[in-house]
Amino acid sequence: MRFLFILILLFFIEAAEANFFKPQHHTLDNRLEIIVLENNRVPAVAHSIWYKVGSADEPNGKSGIAHFLEHLMFKGTDKLKPGEFSQIVSINGGKENAFTSKNYTGYFQLIHKSKLELVMSLEADRMKNIKLTEDEFKNEKKVVLEERYSRVDNNPSALLSEQINAALYMNHPYRKPIIGWEHEIKNLNLDDVLKFYKKYYAPNNAIIVICGDINLDEVVKLAKKYFGKIKPSKIEKRIWTNEPTQHAPRKVTLKSQDTAIPIFKRHYLVPTYTKSKKESLTLEVFSEIFGNPSTGILFEEFVKNKKLAISASAFYYPDGFGDTSFTISIIPKKNVSLEEIELHLNEYLDQIRKLVFNKEELEKVKKRLVNNTIFAQDSLYMGMRIFGSSLTTGYSLKEITAWPKDISKISTNDLQNFVPNIFNSNKSVTGYLLPIKK
């Protein structure tokens, strides 16, 4: 029996490898990294550049700089007027946008492959040459504040998450919201942002990720032409303050007139992939078994068996440096209080700590996770996003491509070892969102 099992596993690993992305890699002399994922379905490319800098790198008291700078990157360079970048991309049939996270800032264009040279030249231009006036800066500050009001202040569940996050990390910069605190955004000045730009925007702190109908040689040629002359900067190693030992569970309650739906949240501080690799992979598998919103055992317990909730799910986000969160979200049924949910969750998690995992079920769940990587190849954007975000949050290229194989190796023993560590109440924050009834 054991022999058969091993055979199946071996076959499975081969299949997983055959179906995964095949990234090609090159590093320029100025240490700009280039990743190409060839996909020939349509004559187009998803071109992106990822800077290894995000909200976690901001100086104290200056939250929001990384995201603010992302906005300003569209405001012109020595050669381009404000807004001209977007105009050129659009006239050439391209779509574009940018995103900021705790660890990275990314810019991308989706465009016909014949225009790759154009967007690479534009991206190289704004790596070093942005030009900003005080007026543009002031104007964009208003835009960023409006963005904060839309995304956070007008949205009770986003406000709750912001409060939970600030309580979960007591010392690590992940406690700051990516968009920044309102009062700190208001106090930012142009000089703050430009300093940040000069410090972190450099070829040796960036990765180009391209997914599409193009090969590495062509990309390297273009990258040399446009980025090759840009000198590397001195980039200091990122050292973040670590979390101290946490000694007490925390609880935040947000009451709001703007929702009818109460929400229960529980965040646990757990290791990222970079901090503890095997453990992180195990948590990815466990969160699928435990927290899948329609098949997870948490859903089964709260929604189907105990009939306490209308939804119940959990999520683990492995990216980053230091610790990250394992998040449980439950929406109670009408007339069930958040306290009842919490009480039962605490009892239920006691059972989960002692749970004996079923081998057969584990194999099925791992197969699901690995199959997801086939679907991820069914768009240019997805591959670009997966490689860019993983490479800027501590994964090596080898670790990304080994992911299906590594997931396949997770055993019931690993689950038995690591799962009980997750639910340590001293490292948790419980969040209540309560509608105010009028």
Partner: protein
């Protein structure tokens, strides 16, 4: 030197190789029924989308929410499988099978590995023909729906969409949420759900689109085997009445204590068959559809910093077309934002657009089309929506010509038809200052 380099790029713009990336085949699967297919074997994946003309718009009076409740329950157990077993088989085989409704259509999305296509069709067949509709699942889903409906009286965005529908579609079935009415949802029973499926899932109102690793012959085999049974001659078809209503140029306000107000506006739109459809499509792109570079974004965000997001769009229901848009801004700026939106509408009517603006818009709309075709999911969606729009399979060859034929004069003409400020209403959810002549709702 550098500047010249950029100019060179502009000059070679017109030398795009024409894209013919989409090779669409018709698959005649039963009598005169045809599905559209793009066969692409790059990945071992198949995406198939189905639409029956049976959305929430045909929900009977007193049972608003029937279509949605039926769709929501189809994966909650079927044949010999309980809800739990059914969902587990789907998950363990990496099959995505979704059922959902719009006001006009009942949609099925199937997304699977090729190796599980047989199983996918078997499960789909069970869901459509032998759903369990167990009482405890019905009650569970009903209470979920009612909670979401409650949210449309509390959540700022949800309040906005509810009031928007109630103003625009007053007196018409489109005025109701797809989820229905809370008091009606309680009245819907198992028999109503079975009748809904029996009467409305029928080949004479069905559209099918597929993309991925599946041949014409294979698709035909599956569709013929599983869809023939939906050929129903003797039952009555339901129709949605045409919606005809003059829009009053009012400003409606739903007062709510918020940091920022949500502004929505709408007027009459244009039908897909209208000879000026593409003129309107391009006009909207230039006005508010074109993201960072639209006139509304340039004036309101880029020049004045009043919003993070401002947009406009053209939308089509089967029985009503409208033009709409929106913005979110701090309470003290609401009057300014509304004023500028109005000014921009008037400007585009009076002055039209420049030849350069038109050329730029055409370049984008033609050359960005390929970006919609990079995944099986997206291709299947486009194939389905093109059929639902009543277009022929030659649309993909003709689209560029349709866009290229539009002139600056056409844009001005269609702007004067659609952007009539006396037929556009504004709706605000928030706590704006300085607004005059408002109707509180």
């Amino acid at each position: 030197m550098k500047k010249l380099f950029f100019i060179l790029f502009f000059l070679i713009l017109s030398n795009f190789t024409p894209l013919n990336a989409l090779d669409v085949k018709e698959v005649n699967y039963y009598k005169d029924k045809k599905a559209w297919l793009v066969n692409d074997g790059n990945l071992p994946i198949v995406a198939i989308k189905f639409a029956f003309k049976a959305g929430s718009g045909i929900d009977p009076k007193g049972k608003k929410g029937t279509a949605n409740l039926s769709a929501s329950l189809l994966d909650e157990g079927a044949g010999n499988y309980s809800a739990k077993e059914f969902k587990k088989i789907l998950a363990d085989n990496s099959i995505t099978l979704n059922f959902n409704v719009s006001h006009d259509n009942f949609y099925i999305d199937l997304y699977t590995l090729k190796e599980n296509l047989d199983l996918s069709f078997q499960l789909l067949d069970l869901a459509l023909t032998k759903p369990l509709f167990k009482l405890d699942e019905i009650n569970r889903i009903k209470s979920n729906i009612k909670l979401i409906l409650e949210q449309s009286y509390k959540d700022p965005d949800e309040i906005g969409s509810r009031l928007f529908r109630e103003i625009l579609f007053e007196g018409h079935p489109y005025q109701y949420d797809i989820l229905g009415l809370s008091e009606d949802v309680d009245q819907i029973n198992k028999e109503d759900l079975e009748n809904f499926l029996q009467n409305n899932l029928r080949t004479d109102n069905l559209y099918v689109a597929a993309s991925g690793d599946i041949s014409k012959v294979e698709l035909k085999k599956y569709l013929n085997k599983y869809l023939k049974k939906f050929d129903k001659k003797n039952t009555k078809k339901s129709y949605i009445p045409v919606h005809k209503k003059e829009i009053q140029p009012k400003i409606f306000l739903h007062q709510k204590d918020l940091r920022q107000s949500n502004i929505l506006f709408a007027g009459e739109g244009i039908s897909r068959e209208d000879p000026y459809f593409y003129s309107a499509y391009i006009m909207n792109y230039i006005l508010g559809g074109g993201g960072f570079i639209s006139k509304l974004t340039t004036e309101i965000r880029e020049k004045r910093g009043l919003v993070y997001s401002v947009y406009s769009y053209l939308y089509r229901y089967d029985k009503y077309n409208f033009f709409s848009g929106g913005a979110q801004t701090s309470n003290e700026n609401v009057d300014k934002v509304i004023k500028i939106i109005k000014e921009e509408l008037i400007k585009i009517k009076k002055e039209g657009v420049t030849k350069k603006e038109l050329k730029n818009a055409k370049n984008y709309l033609i050359n960005s089309y390929v970006l919609r075709l990079d995944s099986n999911k997206k291709v299947a969606s486009i194939l389905l929506n093109t059929q639902l729009d009543g277009l022929n399979i030659d649309f993909f060859e003709k689209r560029n010509d349709y866009i290229n034929s539009v002139s600056v004069e056409d844009i001005k003409k269609v702007a004067n038809r659609i952007l009539d400020e006396n037929k556009i209403f504004f709706l605000i959810v928030g706590n704006p200052s300085n607004l005059k002549n408002i109707n509180k709702i």
